[in-house]
């Protein structure tokens, strides 16, 4: 007989989780969160809020590198953080592209209007 590390109730040695509280009996997960996945997310957020393009492009690159790294190493976690960074990076690039396109159109229109 063993005891649950969460609630202290008696559990069978074979039980995968504590029947009382559902706490897993196995050792806590050893997976570490990949730091560059967090970095990609933060770059993606800053790319949308403060400086688009300059930070959105690195967000996509760092995010995809982090995802590749996590896929190869099963002890690393944080794929969804990296994916959110990549998505926010593309949103930032999209917003910047639309902004630049409107700027060019306005410039062309004003030059054409002057003639």
């Amino acid at each position: 007989m063993a005891f649950c590390a969460n609630c202290g109730s008696e559990v069978s040695d074979q039980a995968p989780v504590c029947p009382k509280c559902g706490h897993p009996r196995t050792a806590p997960r050893t997976g570490r969160t990949e730091g560059s996945a967090v970095a990609a997310l933060i770059l993606g957020i800053l790319g949308i809020t403060t400086c688009p393009l300059i930070l959105s492009i690195p967000a996509v690159i760092v995010g995809n590198q982090a995802r590749a790294k996590i896929r190869l190493d099963p002890t690393l976690e944080g794929d969804s953080l990296a994916r959110a960074g990549v998505v926010l990076g593309w949103v930032g690039i999209g917003l910047a592209t639309v902004g630049i396109a409107i700027g060019i159109l306005a410039l062309v229109a004003s030059v054409a209007g002057l003639r």
């Binding site: 063993a2 005891f3 649950c4 590390a5 969460n6 609630c7 202290g8 109730s9 008696e10 509280c21 559902g22 706490h23 897993p24 806590p28 997960r29 570490r32 969160t33 990949e34 730091g35 996945a37 967090v38 997310l41 933060i42 957020i45 809020t49 403060t50 976690e77 944080g78 969804s80 953080l81 959110a84 926010l88």
Partner: protein, 156 residues
Amino acid sequence: MAFCANCGHETSPQALSCPQCGHPTGVGALTTFEYADFWTRFAGALLDFLILLIPSFVLNISIVPFLGGLLLDFGYHWLMVAYWDGQTIGKRAVGVRVSRPDGTPVDPALAAGRAAMRLVSGFVLLLGFIWAAWDPEKRTWHDMVADTRVYRVTRP
């Protein structure tokens, strides 16, 4: 590593009871694996908001408007969740805790990602927070991205 006060068996620093004899370690709070409901989380978040209100006002007028408050919000939620047993002051007051789905603690890098995504949840008219009201697992957007859950806890 820690040791049980009753039988001397080695216990993990997060363990609430000794795996050998079941003696409580006096650390932290019991996870119930019940999802904290929206209004409970709302009350906790409101308390955290009120705690940060004056400091972020001071930062906003002394550093950069808007950015100072955001940095404080990020830092508070990151460091509290990472180093205070998955809880902020508001979360502790209402008896809930952030953990991974299996109840294991959130590591500092994951807590940073969650705190960053929390800002995004707030940007869209708080939609990312309100999401917890109808999500079957009561997740906000930052819970989804970081793959965390907020469970109710009880004190032994």
